[in-house]
Structures are given as C-alpha cells and as structure tokens.
C-alpha cells in the first residue's frame, strides 16, 4: 500500500489547531457555543490523527516506523524536517486526550469567562504538538514560544490578583529560559553548522578539541532551558505557584508542558549523546541522574509541607518530573520503557487530580464563591451562569472515591497504573542488562521513589481526612455532568492503562528501541527524498560544507 497523501497526516496536528484557533479569534462571545464546538471538533480531529499516526508507525506503513515530512519539500538538513515515530505519535495521543478532558471541563464555567479562551487553547495545542513532531532545533524554539505565549494568556485566564502575580514570575522565568534556549542553539550551530537533529547526531562524533567543549557548553545551556520547563531542581521553583494559581483546565495542559521538557531531554540525550557519539557520548547523564534525585526530594518535601491541594498537585508533578529525569540520566536501556509508561501514567494522574480539586473546593466554599473571586476584576459582558440542569447524584461519594483513585495513582499503590509503572522501573533497576550488581545510584533512586510514594500517601491522606471526614456539617456540592465526565474519563484511561499494560509495554518497548538507534533515525531523515517538482533545480548543493566555509 503506497498512499503518499498519508504523509501529510504528520502536518495535521500542527495545522488543524492553527487554522481553527485563527478562525475562532474574530468570533465574539455571542458565538460561544459555536466556538466551543469548533474547538472540540478540532481536538477530536487531533485525536483521530494521532491514532492514525500510531497505526501508520506501528503498523509498518512507514519504513522503520518513522514518518518523515519535509516542510516545503526542502530535503534535510536544509529545510525543516518533521518526524513522526512511535514515541511522538503516542505523545500526540496523550496531548489530544488531555486536551479533550480539559476542554470538556470548560464547557460550563471556564470557557465562558474571558473572550479568547478557545483561540489560546488551540494555539497552545499547536505549540505542544509541534514540539513533539519537529526535528529541527530552531523550529523547536519557535514551537516552544508558540506554546509558551499561549500559556501566558491561559494562565492569566480568569484574571485575578493571584493569577497575575503568578504570571509575572512565570513569564519572566520563561523569557529568561527562552534566551538560554537561543544561546544554546547558536553555540550548537556555531560548532556543528547544522540545526537538524539527525544531521547533528551524525556530525557530533567528528567533533574534536575546542569545538567539542564549545558544543558541550552549548548543549548544557540548551538543557537548562528544557529543564526549566521540565522543572528540575533548582529550576522548578516557579511551578507550584503557577499550577495553584492557574484555572484547572489550563493547569492540566501545564502538566503536559512540563512533560514536553522531559520528552525533549530524553530524545536529545538518546539521539545526540548516544554511545556512538564519540567524545560527547553520555554527556550530562550524571547531572540528570542526581538533578532528578534532588528534584524528587524537593517535590516530596514540598508536598509534605503544604496543605493546599493545588500546590500539592504541583509538587506531585515535580516528583514525577524528577523521577523521569533520574530515569533518563540512569542511562539503562530497559529502564526507558518503564519510564515512558510512568510519564503517561503520572501525567494522567496529576491531570485528573487537578480537575478534581476544583470540584472538591466546592465542599469548602459552597456556591460560586471562587468564581466570584475570579470575577472580581474582570469586566465580562455576560455574567457566567451557575451550572444549570440536573446535578450528579451521590456527589460526595463520587468525589471521595475519585480522590482515593487519584491518591493511589500519584502515590503508586496497587491496583492502578502508578503501581505498574513503579513496578516496571524497579524490575529494570534490579536487573541490570549485563548481569552485574545494582550500583549505589540504583539503590538510592529506588529508595527515593519509595519514600516519595510514602510521602504522597501521607499528604493525600491528610488532605482527604480533613476534607471528607473532618469538615463537619457539609452540604453535597452541586456538580455538573460536564465536570464529572472528564475526571471519570481520565480515571478510566488509567484503568485502561493498567488492564492493557502488556500491550502498552510492548508498544513502548518498540518506541524506546526506535529512539535508542540514532543510526536509523539519521539514515531515515537525511535520505528522505524530496518530491520531484514541476521545475528541476539547477545544480543543487549536495552538502552543507559546499555552501558554508
């Protein structure tokens, strides 16, 4: 089967939200319902596309499970190449699923305050999808900025003093990180003369002397930018405040954005600093390992010290980032598969918890006290109404059970996906590939993961007891179906991940095999032929060396 148009599917996750977001911008709030459904349709389209991409990569349509798309038909490394492999397709699916839950949640309240929520939301999705797909460093910067610029607007969504204070710091940190990103990219370009990741991986082994050390400086500066996004200690201090201040559907997407940082670090360290990278092989792994461990400690300590649910979710995200970074830095191939499973599971868990927090808050502050707070300084033309229609029966039972499920997932206790992930990581850590003894770093990492789980249990229990048992005479809050459904959906996903753990692990093992074989990626990206055009180009340059001194 050879259908060339299928290659264009790679572009859909970027183009679709861009076009829909732009189309939504001129519509006024009077068209609120239409805006919501257009936005919803776009997310459903992304969901279908990501499923199709998974089918194409894993089903053997593309050679080696990698689809390469040459933007504007410029052959790599001259133009921008997009790469869809098993891992990036799966991340696109995760993004679409979270976006679906977040968007559904906004139906009753959050989509109604503020005017350009859906436009910004679509642009955010465009940035995230682009960052997953692109195979060019500078293009990655552009997608990062698209994603960040949209997230600035979204964090401010529902504009109150707390949000604006958190945003000021969030924006300042990210602007500074963007500058580091540029510095790193420029240094890498100066030493290797390329920005295409596959071409970079091919050139790095030839670097010697000054060029090599300068390249390492560039890579470290670049890594600082990703790790700020991925919230490694001490760069992640902005995270809990921002998460707690942002509105819940936005915070869900922010959780995914920290994972974008970890995803890029994973991809770059396996592609560019692989074992075949000569003098740069394994560069920075120790820093990631110990930085990741410090991040786990920081997250666990923070979780124990706070009693606000929003901050607790933020520290939960920090622990999960730290675990991921330590797993990447540990540098053992079999650990990557379990790490990827953990990435997906923990993202879904924290996202479900963030959505749940708003519903739980209604027990403490009944009616729409929180919304009133939000509206304090925001001049909205049409006042958002209270959720109308039938409430959900047995609201308290739902809230407490859903909370318990989230706690189990975040702490990594059986029977949900958090446990499977931790079990997988421990299994890999206890069985080093060459059959040698488990190193001290391995034991330390396991101890930290167990301790952070214990601390998560303690703080979640404390919060649960205070909220559900000890809050005195409480009135069951009114929950709307559109708010309960996303939480149930995310919890259902987690159950599905647990039930289907075997096939998911199989897929992830194939995905991590892909990203661990740089030679295949280099070959696939650099030899992907450009389509023959209507005019034949005159004497094309065959390598960058011919155009560059």
């Amino acid at each position: 089967m050879n259908l060339p148009w299928l290659d264009h599917l790679i572009l859909v996750p970027i183009l679709l939200p861009l076009l829909v977001g732009a189309a939504l911008a001129p519509l006024t709030q009077g068209w609120r319902r239409l805006k919501f459904w257009l936005s919803y349709a776009s997310v459903l389209g992304m969901l279908a596309t990501s499923l199709a991409l998974i089918q194409l990569t894993d089903g053997g349509h593309w050679k080696d499970g990698m689809g390469v798309y040459l933007a504007a038909n410029w052959s790599a490394p001259f133009g921008i190449a997009l790469l869809a492999d098993r891992l990036s397709s799966l991340m696109l699916l995760l993004c679409a699923l979270l976006a679906l839950a977040a968007l559904h949640f906004t139906q009753m309240r959050w989509g109604r305050i503020g005017v350009h929520f859906h436009t910004l939301f679509q642009f955010l999705l465009m940035g995230i999808n682009g960052a997953f797909l692109t195979h060019d460093l500078f293009n990655l910067f552009v997608f990062f900025e698209v994603m960040l610029a949209a997230s600035y607007g979204l964090v401010l969504h529902g504009y109150n003093a707390e949000r604006i204070r958190a945003s000021m710091q969030y924006i300042a940190i990210n602007l500074a990180a963007a500058l580091l990103f540029l510095l790193g990219t420029a240094l890498i370009y100066a030493t290797t003369g390329t920005l295409n990741m596959a071409d970079l991986a091919a050139r790095v082994p030839q670097l010697r002397g000054d060029d090599l050390s300068l390249f390492k400086v560039g890579a470290s500066v670049l890594a600082l930018a990703f790790l700020t996004k991925g919230a490694m200690w001490p760069l992640g201090f902005w995270l809990p405040t921002t998460y707690a201040a942002a509105s819940p559907p936005v915070a869900v997407m922010l959780v995914l954005m920290t994972k974008v940082g970890a995803y890029i670090v994973l991809r770059m360290s396996l592609l560019i600093f692989s074992g075949s990278a000569g003098g740069a092989a394994g560069f920075g792994q120790e820093a990631l390992l110990y930085g990741g461990m410090a991040t786990i400690v920081f997250g666990a300590a923070g979780m124990l010290s706070t009693d606000s649910a929003g901050r607790m979710a933020g520290y939960g995200a920090i622990i999960s980032s730290g675990t991921l970074l330590a797993v990447i830095g540990y540098g053992q191939a079999s650990l990557v598969t379990a790490g990827l499973y953990y990435l997906i599971g923990s993202t879904i868990a924290v996202a479900a918890f963030l959505l749940l927090i708003e519903l739980i808050d209604r027990i403490r502050t009944p009616r729409s006290a929180m919304l009133a707070l939000t509206m304090e300084a925001y001049a909205v033309e049409d006042t958002p109404v209270e959720p109308v229609g039938r409430g959900v029966p047995a609201a308290m039972a739902f809230l407490s059970l859903a909370f318990a499920a989230c706690a189990l997932m975040i702490a990594g206790l059986p029977p949900l996906s958090g446990f499977v992930a931790k079990f997988g990581m421990f299994h890999a850590l206890l069985n080093p590939i060459d059959g040698s003894a488990v190193p001290t770093a391995g034991w330390t990492l396991m101890t930290l993961i167990i301790l952070s789980g214990l601390i998560a249990v303690i703080s979640m229990m404390r919060f649960g007891v205070r909220t559900f048992w000890a809050s005195g005479a409480i009135e069951a809050p009114k929950l709307h179906r559109s708010e309960v459904a996303p939480v149930l959906f995310l919890l259902g996903l987690s159950v599905l991940m647990t039930v289907q753990a075997n096939s998911l692990f199989g897929y992830l093992a194939r995905a991590s095999d892909d990203i661990r074989s740089p030679a295949t990626t280099i070959e696939r990206v650099l030899t992907h032929p450009a389509l023959p055009g209507p005019t034949t180009p005159t004497t094309p340059a065959t390598s960058l060396d011919e155009v560059m001194p």
Partner: protein, 114 residues
C-alpha cells in the same frame, strides 16, 4: 573586532542579568530586553564575523562560500527578534495589569515589609 564585539555582548548581557534580579517589574522588563539584545547579537556573531559580504547567492552561478556571509544566523536573528518583541510586549501588559490590581510595581505584588 572579535574582542570589541564579545566585550559589548558581555557587558549588555551582564547589565541585563543585574536588572532582571532587581525587585521592580520595570527593571525586570528592561533587563529582559537588554538580555535579548545581547542574545540576538550573539546569534548573529555565531555565523562568524563578516565585513562587506552578501548573504545571498547570485542566481545561476555556483556560489563561492569564501565571499559570502552565512545567511542562516541572519534568518534566525530575525525570527528571534520578532518573537522576543512579542513576548516582551505581553510582559509589559501583564506588568501594567499587576500595577493596576495590586497598586505596586514590586514583582511580588506587595511592598516588602521593612
């Protein structure tokens, strides 16, 4: 020329860092702008320093790389300037909003207690 350029970039960037660490939001903004100028210059210089060399290749002829400047950093700088400009403008808006809501221009949204 190399020394002058690198000193200039270093001084501008260092001033930017100092300003970013100041407590008033306008100082932070000015610092971010200075830093982004320094970074833009830095990217530009990373394509090596050229004097009087065109970045464009003549049509129909095989270009001689020795007499041409590297066009890629120039394109990158252009993109970086545009993006930096937009995000800085956004920060300015948030800054004004914060000033209006909290009544102070301190980055923490409140005056430090003396």
């Amino acid at each position: 020329m190399e020394l002058v350029i690198s000193l200039a970039i270093g001084i501008v960037f260092a001033s930017g860092i100092w300003l970013v660490l100041r407590p008033r939001s306008f100082q932070v903004l000015a610092g971010l702008m200075l830093m982004s100028y320094a970074v833009n210059l830095f990217i530009f210089v990373m394509g090596r320093l050229w004097v009087d060399a065109a970045p464009l290749t003549p049509a129909g002829k095989t270009p001689d790389p020795a007499i041409l400047a590297d066009p890629l950093p120039q394109a990158l700088v252009l993109t970086a300037i545009v993006i930096g400009f937009a995000t800085t403008a956004l920060y300015l808006v948030v800054m004004i909003g914060s000033r209006g809501l909290t009544g102070t221009d301190h980055v923490d949204g409140k005056e430090p207690e003396l």
